[in-house]
């Protein structure tokens, strides 16, 4: 199985006043296509930073980040934006839906940014994901009219509608109650199995970890351990490796 994400000797530093904070310390990581991977760790450990680098919304101070075989360090802002648009899908902790657009329009938005599809094609694509996330009856509702779980389903649909190679989810259950969170994780796991889309999470939710093919733990910017979860025993692809 080929690695869809590869980090080689990645360092990320942030300036903080007169000092510099090193958020990631020489990280090497490979994630295979179709994996359902969890990046776990306590707050401030560097898991979000790692996810941002993989999601091309931040750049490494040094080292290489390869996404879909493309070295992101050499890309400019426009190229990184195109990469995010074509290959990545995002699910945010706070859902981050566009408040003034309804459910359909929120999901359609990335397709419009991509361009090249007719209105009919876009509708088919939107309806396809809407059906998967179970929001057919809420298409014309605004985010403010939806529950937290419904909003996250819209976010998942928006992330999947462009048929990305990788979906990145930053603490997707953090703002949800346990029942809703559980159903969202199940939904994503099902989608992963059905479409073979690579899912990468940052979380410290144990239920998410239980569903993961692999859990990568990170502490103080250093990747400490990796392993296969129970859920991966029978179905998950293998082959990911972590080098501390």
């Amino acid at each position: 199985m080929s690695a869809i994400v590869a980090l080689k000797n990645v360092v990320k530093e942030y300036p903080l006043g007169a000092t510099t904070v090193r958020a990631l310390k020489r990280v090497d990581l490979e994630i295979d296509r179709g994996e359902f991977t969890v990046i776990a760790g306590p707050s401030g450990s560097g898991k979000s930073t790692l996810l941002n680098l993989i999601g091309c919304i931040d750049v490494a101070t040094s080292g290489e980040v390869l996404v879909g075989g493309q070295n992101t360090s050499s890309l400019n802002d426009n190229q990184l934006t195109q990469l995010r648009l074509r290959k990545l899908g995002f699910i945010f902790q706070s859902f981050n839906l566009i408040a003034v657009l309804d459910v359909f329009q929120n999901i359609e938005f990335p397709l419009l940014l991509q361009g090249g599809l007719t209105a009919g094609e876009r509708q088919t694509r939107v309806m396809d994901v809407v059906e998967k996330v179970g929001l057919k009856t809420q298409l014309r509702q605004r985010p403010s009219e939806l529950s937290g779980g419904q909003r996250q389903r819209v976010a998942i649909a928006r992330a999947l509608v462009t048929r990305p190679e990788i979906v990145l989810a930053d603490e997707p259950t953090a703002n949800l109650d346990s029942a809703t969170g559980g159903s969202i994780i199940t939904l994503m796991r099902d989608l992963n199995r059905a479409d073979k889309t690579t899912f990468i999470f940052s979380t410290h939710d144990h239920r998410v970890m239980e569903q993961a093919d692999r859990v990568v733990t990170i502490l103080d910017g250093v990747v400490n351990a990796q392993g296969l979860s129970a859920a991966a025993d029978d179905s998950a692809p293998t082959g990911g490796s972590v080098h501390a």
């Binding site: 979000s48 996810l51 919304i57 802002d77 934006t81 706070s94 566009i98 408040a99 938005f109 940014l113």
Partner: protein, 699 residues
């Protein structure tokens, strides 16, 4: 395109979602556009109306005058008219040259001069009538008319004596004041009667010399006279029309007094006050009870009762007395007291008394100091510094249509060019011949400035330091045939002048009327070139510049409008910029999300600009629509000119503004551009938001 629709959709939803911000900015843009469209349309309408009133009344499309003139030409100026605009050296030649300019339809020669007319007092008029009446009948057997007129003179003297008694205690020269009082009292004595019966002529002389000067000073009227060729003027200035009398017949000398001046300066003062009060009541809706200035005016009018009393002949006075007693329901026997009471008008009696005045009193007095058909003596200082008097017949009164109540339009009175030239300082043939005779009889030798030193001090004298041999002097006799035979003044008045006679002489300036649709800019250049080629160089002014202060008034109005627009634009710039900066900060997470899921910087920039543009188009569209509605309504009902000066700006008593698509496009376009400009920086800031901010969880 889909992308644009999506961004426009998001932008519009943002406009609706952020209602308060949109309402504030939208209101500002609404008023901005309303101001721009309404203001610009009003200024355009005023400019159009002014152009119409100025070009078709006096100025023509262009004005020309001597290129080497000392002062600039100003047709309309408040209290001006002393400018030295030189003279057009050879007007016939210039007119011929301009006839070949394709844009020119007509060239109307002009020249203006300030004159003074001395009006007579009521006593003067009564004395004149008395002198005529007594000559018609023997002194020892006076007719009823002269007896009545003598009583009128005595009544005036008695009133003046009462006034003199009030003046006496505070007079500086008490001896003279007492002598005057004694003289006035003497008029009503038996001794005076005997003197008048026995020696009428010398008594009349005494009255003229001693009593007449004690009456209030005669009225001084200042009349600005525009000499022109009346045929061309009548034909080329469409707003000109005769009100009373007739136009000056072609080739004749004469004077047309403006109806405005006639009604305000020549009419009996009491009648004028009553007219003015009626106008204030009818047109301005003022009432004596609520308006102190109007009730004060009624008081002032009442105190002027003598101006009626002195003008009534004894016969008329006897006729008016019972009528007034009946009208006022009074037993009062003193006519003066009755008139005084009658003129103390209020809201209840004004209309009835106004009608009574014109029915019973105005018909018995001389309502105007001079009447159409009279000969008027105009006095002016000539260019040589001498006071010159010219007697000229008043043929009629005139107005410019729509500018009937305009003080500025009414300031000019019209005369033929020969009369103007006499007032200006050009001598008539007879006067020149007379002067020539005097020269010959007095052995006067003409000494030119160039050889003055030689003639006066001997040929060897050195020229004085600083004296220029080329120093210019005014030559009164330039272009005049010195050998013409002398003619009497009466002959000159009756003489019919040819067009050439009228044209061959001094012309100060000329109005150029252009053909319909001709470009004023092209015409200016062509006229200047043609005049230069003809050897008669002139300065060519458009009507705005030629109209002097009035044209500048338009510039002031435009300036105020521009400042108001700039201020509102500046405020809009500041407020829109601020609100969009706040919106950018509030929506950082949303912008970050859009960037994270694949929106380019340019798309974020476009989103913000489209948002403002949509708001601007809607708000400015509403503002422009509201303005168009208002202008369309005002175009129907008109805006009343608040003053006589405004009437000139409005081209008549009301301004009927019109809107144009050009002004609507200008208003909406400028407001939209300002909105975009003020949004650009916040939009740029929004485009710089990093996608990583989407990852920061909300508090």
């Amino acid at each position: 395109m889909n992308m644009f629709y999506m961004l426009a959709g998001i932008a519009w939803r943002n406009v609706v979602a952020h209602r308060v911000k949109s309402a504030i900015v939208g209101t500002l843009l609404f008023f901005g556009t309303f101001l721009v469209v309404t203001g610009k349309s009003l200024v355009d309408s005023i400019e159009h109306a002014m152009a119409e009133s100025i070009t078709s009344s006096l100025a023509g499309d262009l004005q020309i005058y001597d290129k080497n003139a000392k002062d600039p030409l100003q047709l309309f100026s408040f209290g001006g008219g002393g400018e030295d605009i030189g003279e057009i050296p050879d007007f016939p030649k210039l007119r011929d040259a301009l006839a070949a300019v394709p844009e020119v339809r007509a060239v109307v020669p002009m020249g203006s001069v300030n004159t003074v007319v001395f009006g007579s007092t009521e006593l003067d008029q009564a004395l004149t009538k008395l002198r005529i009446a007594t000559r018609a009948s023997p002194a020892d057997a006076p007719n009823q008319e002269s007896q009545g007129l003598l009583e009128q003179v005595q009544a005036i003297a008695a009133q003046l004596a009462e006034d003199q008694k009030v003046v006496l205690p505070i007079a500086a020269d008490k001896v003279k004041a007492q002598q005057d009082l004694d003289a006035l009292v003497h008029v009503n004595t038996d001794a005076f009667h005997q003197e008048f019966a026995s020696n009428t002529e010398s008594t009349l002389d005494w009255l003229d010399r001693t009593i007449a000067p004690l009456a209030s000073d005669g009225k001084l009227m200042y009349l600005r006279v525009l000499g022109t060729e009346m045929g061309s003027f009548t034909q080329d200035f469409s707003r000109f029309h005769i009100v009373d009398g007739e136009n000056i017949p072609e080739g004749k000398r004469g004077f047309l007094i403006s109806k405005y001046a006639y009604e305000r300066f020549v009419k009996n003062k009491v009648a004028r006050e009553l007219d003015d009060m009626k106008q204030k009541r009818d047109e301005d809706g003022l009432r004596f009870e609520s308006d102190k200035a109007l009730s004060d005016q009624a008081g002032r009018c009442s105190r002027q009762y003598a101006r009626i009393l002195f003008m009534l002949s004894p016969t008329d006075a006897r006729a008016v007395l019972p009528l007034l007693q009946k009208e006022l329901g009074s037993e009062e026997k003193d006519l003066g007291a009755l008139i005084k009471d009658f003129l103390l008008v209020n809201d209840d009696n004004f209309e009835a008394r106004y009608a009574f005045f014109y029915k019973e009193i105005a018909t018995r007095i001389r309502l105007y100091d001079v009447a159409v058909g009279d000969t008027l003596t105009l006095r002016a200082y000539t260019r040589t510094g001498y006071m010159r008097s010219v007697n000229v017949k008043i043929w009629g009164t005139f107005e410019f249509t729509g500018l009937e109540s305009s003080q500025l339009a009414g300031v000019y009175n019209l005369s033929d060019l020969v009369t103007f030239r006499q007032l200006y300082g050009k001598m008539s043939d007879s006067q020149l011949a007379e002067l020539d005779d005097i020269r010959k009889s007095a052995s006067i030798k003409e000494v030119t400035r160039a050889n003055a030193e030689d003639e006066l001090f001997g040929a060897a004298a050195e020229p004085l330091v600083g004296e220029s041999a080329e120093a210019k002097t005014f030559d009164e006799f330039a272009g005049v045939d010195m050998t013409a035979a002398s003619r009497s003044a009466a002959e000159l008045d009756e003489r019919v002048y040819s067009k050439a006679d009228m044209e061959n002489g001094v012309v100060l300036n000329a109005a150029v009327v252009l053909k319909d649709g001709a470009s004023a800019t092209d015409a200016k250049a062509h006229i200047a070139a043609a005049a230069e080629t003809a050897g008669v160089p002139v300065t060519v002014l458009d009507w705005q510049t030629a109209s002097g202060i009035v044209g500048q008034l338009l510039l002031v109005i435009k300036g105020v409008l521009v400042i108001a627009i700039l201020v509102i634009f500046l405020v809009a710039l500041f407020i829109i910029n601020n609100s969009m900066m706040m919106a950018t900060m509030e929506r950082t997470a949303e912008i970050g999300t859009m960037r994270a899921i694949g929106a380019q910087r340019g798309q974020v920039l476009a989103l913000f600009l489209i948002e403002t543009l949509l708001l601007a188009v809607v708000a400015s569209g509403l503002g422009a629509g509201f303005s168009m509605g208002l202008l369309a309504w005002l175009g129907e009902v008109g805006i009343k000119a608040p003053s006589s000066q405004a009437m000139f700006l409005f081209g008549g008593p009301r301004l009927f503004p019109a809107w144009s698509w050009l002004n609507v496009a200008f208003g909406m376009g400028s407001v939209s551009l300002i909105s975009l400009a003020s949004t650009f920086y916040p939009a740029l800031m929004a485009a710089r938001v990093q996608p990583v901010v989407a990852m920061n969880p909300k508090e």
